[in-house]
């Protein structure tokens, strides 16, 4: 019986001196030729498996990458020590005149700080996850012609902001109580003057590369300088990584500045994380008791705000994950279905081979090798498709480029999937009794 005329080839035993590995390899190579011959007769079915594996590979690698970008967003660092923080918002049924804003805020801060469980409290014009942001262009020269070097997220709070947000001061000093200004007063003159400013490290590095920012002047609202008195390690834009688009080329989510201004806005408190819920209640009661004409409309732990802020990213990651699992399942089903069909179709061939001395392992290996060949072809096409799709996504959806690591990962998972899927039909083939198989 010659190997070329029919796929019913016997595997010759390899010479012993070549060693076990070489022997296996030799056996595999000998197996290949009949497999190729068989596949040539089933071009369409084989092509469909290849196509299915290729499509799955293309989609799954990109979907996994998209999931990873979402998961990265979930883990983004706002720069704040978020545990134990809560944000309160007070609303008045009768409008509070703007000129009284800072005075009331100062009284409220004194009230909050007097509570035994409150470790720190500050007013803030904005905070991460609260869906509002103030952004200002920063110049290093006065005058209308001076260039805005970057656009920074502009925070405003009192001398307790650093402690309440849990920011780490890496250079210089915090604001002094007497440096904190009344925001309404500052902005009610033509030329706002704010003497001091604290920068995030990212801002300092961008504005003053290679030198210390301390003592330098920046210009934000007009032509009055603000002197940099401190640098904090990290403070993100209130929209964290989504704030990237706000500032233009020279800014990222960590370019932020802090001004010593007190006014109406958010009240932020820091407590022992274990007591957060109780302390929020106590703070709310204290604020509402002080003036019955107002209500604390929002009082949320920052962790909750964060969870809500990222809820859509999380949902999208789950959805993509679900589709990936479904895709892999469908592909596995397809492989099981076609492999079973082939086993059934080749029952007689299997019987012949077994009768002529082929072992169960050899029959099983035949189907496994066949599957490996098909999935490999599919994977090669699929990886090319994955790179192309990634290019398309980059252009249309501002998705970052697919990192190379996803390609081998996708390849390995589809190889594994193929081998797992073919295992059951291959084993069934191997266990066919030669006599029964030949009689069929």
């Amino acid at each position: 019986m010659s190997a070329s005329s029919t796929p019913l080839t016997l595997v010759s035993s390899a010479p012993r001196e070549r060693g076990a590995f070489a022997a296996t390899l030799h056996a595999l190579l000998l197996d290949l030729r009949p497999i190729l011959t068989t596949l040539r007769r089933h071009k369409i079915a084989a092509g469909l498996i290849v196509l299915e594996v290729a499509l799955t590979c293309t989609i799954v690698t990109n979907a996994l990458h998209l999931i990873q970008t979402r998961v990265d967003a979930l883990g983004a660092d706002s720069g704040m020590a978020e545990a134990g923080m809560a944000v309160l918002q007070v609303r008045y049924s009768k409008a509070l005149p703007p000129e009284r804003g800072a005075g009331v805020a100062a009284e409220d801060m004194a009230r909050l700080r007097a509570l035994p469980g409150i470790l720190a409290a500050t007013t803030a014009n904005q905070i991460a996850y609260a869906y509002n942001s103030n952004n200002s262009g920063v110049r290093l020269q006065p005058g209308p012609k001076a260039e805005r070097l970057l656009v920074a997220a502009q925070y405003a709070g009192d001398d307790h902001l650093l402690a309440t947000f849990g920011l780490k001061l890496i250079e210089g000093r915090n604001f002094l109580p007497e440096e904190v200004l009344d925001a309404n007063k500052v902005f009610s003159v033509e030329e706002p003057r704010i003497g001091q400013v604290i920068l995030s490290k990212a801002t300092a590095d961008k504005l003053f590369p290679g030198r210390s920012a301390l003592g330098q002047s920046i210009y934000v609202f007009g032509d009055a300088p603000s002197v940099v008195i401190g640098v904090v390690e990290k403070l993100s834009h209130p929209f964290v990584s989504r704030g990237r688009g706000d500032g233009g080329a020279n800014s990222d989510e960590y370019t932020s500045i802090i001004f010593p201004l007190r006014g109406a806005g958010f009240y932020v408190i820091r407590t022992d994380p274990a007591q957060l819920a109780a302390q929020i209640k106590a703070a709310t009661a204290a604020l509402e008791a002080a003036d019955t004409g107002r209500v604390v409309t929002q009082s949320n732990p920052l962790a909750e705000m964060r969870a809500k802020f990222y809820a859509q990213d999380r949902a999208m990651a789950w959805l993509m994950g679900g589709v990936c699992v479904a895709l892999l399942l469908v592909t596995a089903m397809g492989i099981v279905g076609l492999a079973s069909f082939w086993v059934q179709q080749r029952t007689r061939m299997i019987g012949t081979r077994r009768a002529l001395g082929a072992t169960e392992g050899q029959i099983r290996r035949y189907f496994q090798l066949e599957n490996l060949l098909l999935t490999t072809t599919g994977i090669v096409i699929g990886l090319a498709g994955a790179v192309a799709l990634s290019q398309l996504l980059m252009q249309s959806y501002e998705v970052p480029r697919l990192p190379w690591g996803y390609l081998p990962a996708g390849a390995v998972s589809l190889w594994l999937l193929g081998q797992v899927a073919v295992w059951v039909p291959a084993r069934r083939a191997a266990r066919l009794s030669p006599v029964a198989a030949l009689r069929s």
Binding site: A45, I49, E52, L55, T58, R91, P144, E190, Q345
Partner: protein, 435 residues
Amino acid sequence: MFLHYLELAARSARASKGLSALMVLALALGIGACMTTLTVYHVLSGDPIPDKSARLFNVQLDAGDLVGWKAGEEPTFDLTRFDATALLRDKKGKRQAMMSGTNAAVGINDAQVKPIFSMVRYASSDFFAMFDAPWQFGAGWSAADDDGEARVAVISAALNEKLFAGANSVGREIVVRGQTLRVIGVLKPWRLQPHFYDMTLGSYAESEDLFLPFSTAMPLGIGHWGNMDCWGNGPSGGNPMDLKSNCSWVQYWVELDKPEDAAAYRAYLVHYTEAQRAAGRFARPTNVRLRNVMEWLDARKVLPADVRLQTWLAFGFLLVCIVNMVGLLLAKTLRRAGEIGVRRALGATRGAIFAQFVVEAGLLGGVGAVLGLLFANAGLWLVRHSPNDYARLAELDASMLALTLGLALVASLCAGLLPAWRAALVTPAVQLKVQ
């Protein structure tokens, strides 16, 4: 004949239960995923005001200074109060409205009823007619009310329900920021999705609960929620909402008689810009935008990128499901080569065999469609319970229902063509000899 084929198909499906179930399940999953994402896409990319969307235009002027200016950039989305007031005074369109939004406590003179924090829109008088607001009681205010800073208000059905238990409240009084306003109109439930006339507070925000004249809102110091861009000295020491401030925060819409009038209106905007520059107010080169509703939605990228991505993902999934079905159908068909041989020997034509197998694929497709519809409903239920601002809009309508069934049938017939063709090619003699 068709019925006979259908019976044969059912018998064949019963004969290989596992394989048929696999195919139907995969197809149904693909159809379900596609319909879920397509429905979301369909709902979100819809025309909020189909009768008028080609005649309603948003106006953008580039009033900023030269600091940080780059040629070709989009002008600010809103206008300054100064420019909006000037355009409104010129009345060059059929109707026009300047407006902005805020949030305020709305109460009544009754200590028992607590004030309700409500979204507020202050606008000039044409607002209601321009956006086809539906009236339950009363009507909106007039241009004379705009001029006279009339203390009047229009409230939503929901707010009317909360404050006045749904009764006709025209003529009743409400209290906003300590001032009394007289209710002159109550709207029916009104939902414009997307909330296109002002998208700074979310593209799919609910319609407001309180409406009052722009001119009345200003002396009330009612505040502003939404986007505000300032340049130069910004408010110049005053309130950023003052007439003289360099801040843009007012939405401006114009309704024209017919879409072709847009060119003339654009020419008017260019003329206005040049006059402002001559007067020393505008520093930038002329850069005006006049977009109708759909162009405006497109420019604001109102359809979330995620939704488009999901839709593509679902179609990729469906494609894999179809390829899978082709493969399995082919296997199933070739397994029955003997049967086909007998049928052919007994006189069935190739056409008859082809038809039989296409009908079989169609039957699987039909079952897949019904199951897919169930999956789509489950998917949409999940979407409605997901944390998006558009989540509550995701409902399957009749056109999407028809599309689901059509898509499933087309998908399964496509999947059935190749196997049916292969079946038709079976040579009876060879098959009979083998048996």
